[in-house]
């Protein structure tokens, strides 16, 4: 096997092109650095996406596949199960590892929920004694959140809630009809329901750096890739300005194997394999920035063993792979009688909820630590695969509405056909997403036996929910029940009980993997410093979710973007000072 040496030496090699890698590419190239961006998957431009396609254009009506578990028209290539790229779990562990394989990574997937961490979220240990505080505070990150808000664009409302900081918001879209009902129900039971905060443009951007980005046209299909670049994804927002500098080289279909180091333990570049040709390469750089997703970056570091770094790169502390977190989650659906026999109208709106519930019981006494937020969904969306599945569970209720009791749901024939029409748009869903505590024992490590199809040793996960998370999810269901009851709704299934751990999702399913290259001031207990710089190798940085010390109940993308910007500014500064 011949390993080809790429002729050029770069200032920086970035591994991964998602939120962290895309932001690093933008800021570093604009700062004058020559950057090579490695991406394991192919090129992607959302103008080539599936927006405005009808589900009936497909013989499977939009059903998912192994490559696209969220539906065949979904932009994101990847999932929890990728052919030739296995991972394993220790006995009793059931972590599900989501990977995206394309330019932009999983920014092509997410729900654009863009929540800043608040002041409490950086200092939770000081408040409840669990986990660790971050070595930085909200004040350190706030200027970068501001920059991200303004550059990328976000809608929302300023609510002056201390741990849900105000941002630079465009006006939020008006709630849909059912969302107003949820809001009203929330008010009656003391659960706040406020405009959501999504990175979707409802107005023209206030700057001229992204003339290709237009305000939203409300087709609700953000997940399919937006042809007008109205929402945030790395290929829509971050890659174009990096390319415009002339300082970016994209190296696609290239899977990083390891970071190479010299006799002093400093990084010298990255070795990788072309996933199409199988050709092995090495690329030289002065600095390596890992942004491959938290666990993938940890895997690369752990696989980068050398005389100077026998335990893997940046891992003299032995914390790489440890303190793995994913958000807690559980869901409920309910049929809302007031929404039956609805008035037809276009209810698409933006791609996702127009309202949500932020964590609201900070000061209340409760039997679990940390909080959660609630996401809402429902409405008269485009029918596709799985449309109104399991009708037998809920058309019985029409008997009550009509005062003509039905002994069973289900049925067939004209009456059933009419039932579907009447029930369309009457079902709402709620998803709780909460903060799990970082535990050292929740981890990924290198599987001692398995390799993937490229011969790269794979990860083995070991993750257990604790009572903290399970009790939190129990509370989510109690909140769902309050809202549903206040709406006069009928839950579509029983509230899950203790024996099912109250319906908590398997870890990894919420796709917020964080924490495996944690940030800290002490090199003995953390992998990177407060600038995401490896304690053990000054020219190695991590800008994905790995450095997170705690996760908040917030979706992590906005914080990944802010921290990646902050780290990139630091790198430019350090390069100028010739410190790295």
């Amino acid at each position: 096997m011949q390993i080809k040496e790429q002729p050029n030496e770069y200032d920086v090699v970035i591994v991964g092109s998602g939120a962290g890698g895309g932001m690093a590419a933008k800021v570093l190239t604009e700062g004058g650095a020559k950057v090579a961006l490695l991406e394991a998957g192919p090129f992607y431009n959302s103008e080539e996406g599936n927006m405005f396609k009808w589900n009936y254009e497909s013989p499977r009506r939009g059903a998912g596949s192994r490559e696209r578990p969220f539906g065949e028209f979904h932009a994101n290539i990847g999932g929890w199960d990728i052919e030739g790229e296995p991972y394993s779990n220790a006995s009793g562990s059931n972590f599900k590892w989501f990977r995206a394989r394309m330019l932009g990574g999983r920014t092509n997937h997410w729900g654009r929920i863009s929540l800043r961490f608040g002041p409490y979220d950086f200092k939770r240990k000081s408040m409840d004694g669990l986990g660790d505080d971050w070595p930085i505070s909200y004040e350190d990150v706030a200027p970068y959140y501001d920059k991200v808000d303004k550059y990328v664009g976000i809608f929302g409302s300023s609510e002056n809630m201390i741990n849900e900081p105000n941002g630079h918001f465009m006006p939020p879209p008006k709630p849909r009809g059912y969302e107003l009902l949820i809001q009203k129900a929330g008010r009656s039971v003391g659960i706040p329901v406020i405009p959501s905060r999504l990175s979707i443009l409802t107005r023209p951007l206030g700057h001229n750096e992204s003339p290709h980005r237009n305000p939203c046209h409300y087709c609700s299909q953000c997940g399919r890739g937006c042809a007008t670049h109205s929402n945030f994804s790395s290929p829509s927002v971050l890659i174009p300005p990096a390319q415009a500098t002339g300082n970016l080289e994209m190296i696609l279909n290239s899977m990083a194997r390891e970071v190479t180091t010299d006799g002093e333990g400093k990084a010298t570049g990255v070795s990788y394999v072309n996933t199409i040709s199988g050709q092995e390469y090495h690329i030289k750089s002065k600095i390596v920035v890992l942004a491959a997703s938290a666990c993938e970056s940890a895997r690369i570091l752990l696989n980068s063993r050398s005389e100077q770094h026998p335990n893997g790169l940046a891992n003299s502390s032995d914390v790489v792979g440890k303190y793995l977190m994913d958000s807690t989650g559980t869901d409920m659906m309910a049929l809302i009688p007031d929404l039956i026999d609805g008035i037809p109208h276009n209810e698409d709106g933006v791609g996702g909820m127009h309202v949500y519930t932020p964590w609201w019981l900070e000061k209340e006494k409760r039997d679990f630590p940390r909080g959660y937020h609630i996401e809402f969904w429902g409405g008269r969306g485009m029918p596709g695969y799985g449309f109104m599945g399991g009708i037998q569970r809920h058309n019985k209720i029409l008997g009550e509405i009509d005062s003509k009791p039905r002994l069973s749901g289900g049925g067939y024939g004209l009456k059933l056909k009419e039932d579907y029409r009447r029930l369309y748009g009457s079902i709402i869903g709620m998803s709780g997403r909460g903060e799990a505590i970082a535990f050292k024992d929740n981890k990924c490590e290198i599987d001692s036996e398995k390799v993937d199809k490229y011969g790269i040793p794979v990860l083995k996960f070991n993750y257990q929910w604790s009572t903290n998370e399970i009790m939190q999810v129990k509370h989510m269901h109690e909140s769902f029940e309050q809202i549903i009851d206040a709406m006069g709704g009928k839950p579509l299934w029983e509230k899950p009980g203790k024996e099912e751990n109250y319906g908590i999702t398997d870890p990894g399913l919420i796709i917020h993997e964080l924490g495996v290259t944690r940030m800290g001031n002490n090199p003995k207990s953390s992998a990177v410093n407060m600038f995401n710089q490896a304690h053990d190798a000054k020219n190695v940085f991590v800008v994905d979710g790995g450095p997170f010390v705690s996760q908040a109940d917030k979706n992590p993308t906005w914080t990944i973007l802010a921290l990646a910007w902050r780290t990139s500014d630091y790198i430019i500064d350090q390069m100028k000072q010739k410190n790295i």
Binding site: P59, D331, S408
Partner: protein
């Protein structure tokens, strides 16, 4: 993360093209044949009665569309059963007219994990009909057919002796519903009025009034 109803990642994990061919080779070779079409366009014309607006089918989709899963008798049963579940009325046509039979056949090949449930269920239905009427389901009268459906279409009141029939019918009804309502005909019937560029101004006043809510409170 946004989870759509029914988007269980485990259930929708699909299969690779190779697995699919292997499965067909092992299990259903006898009913697998090409339909005499050579180009993708011909396949679409001949096999699939769906309305299409220029979506490019993948090679795998075209390959699947050229195959059959059901025997002729099974397909006739599927057709009749689908039309019993969603018949035509003054607002729209029946399941068959919306392309449901082709949709279900395609899904059997696309997600082979459904094959045993549906094929086995059709067999259950046939045996039940033979037992009662000494006639196959698709050959017996509509009255007889409905008598069987009355025993399996209502889970809460169905007798325990029909539990397998109930389980099959629940799954089959879901397939028919997806196939019908996600068709162009079904969307127009509901009606689904989205998938167009617009400036969202909120829900119409009539709907707000009905719900007793407003944007001013």
């Amino acid at each position: 993360m946004k989870r759509k109803p029914g988007a269980d990642p485990q259930k929708n994990s699909g299969i690779s093209r190779r697995d699919s061919i292997k499965y067909i080779a092992l299990g259903t070779l006898a009913s697998t044949y090409l339909v005499g079409c050579t180009t993708p366009e011909e396949v679409e014309e001949a096999v699939h009665a769906i309305h299409r607006d220029g979506h490019q089918l993948s090679d795998r989709d075209i390959e699947l569309l050229r195959q059959k899963f059901f025997t002729d008798e099974e397909r006739e049963t599927v057709r009749q059963l689908a039309n019993l579940i969603i018949p035509s009325d003054d607002r729209s046509g029946n399941a068959e007219e919306a392309g449901v039979v082709e949709f279900i056949e395609f899904m059997m090949l696309d997600k082979p994990e459904n094959q045993t449930k549906i094929r086995g269920g059709l067999k259950w239905l046939e045996l039940e009909s033979m037992k009662r009427y000494q006639q196959q389901f698709y050959k017996t009268s509509v009255t007889n057919q409905k008598a069987i459906l009355d025993d399996i279409a209502y889970p809460d009141t169905a007798g325990p002796e029909f539990s397998q029939g109930v389980s099959f019918f629940n799954a089959f009804r879901d397939f028919v519903a997806t196939g019908f309502w996600s068709s162009k005909m079904g969307m127009a019937d509901l009606p689904y009025q989205g998938n167009v560029a617009n400036a969202w101004q909120g829900a119409p006043q009539s709907w707000l009034d009905r719900l007793g809510v407003s944007y001013n409170s």
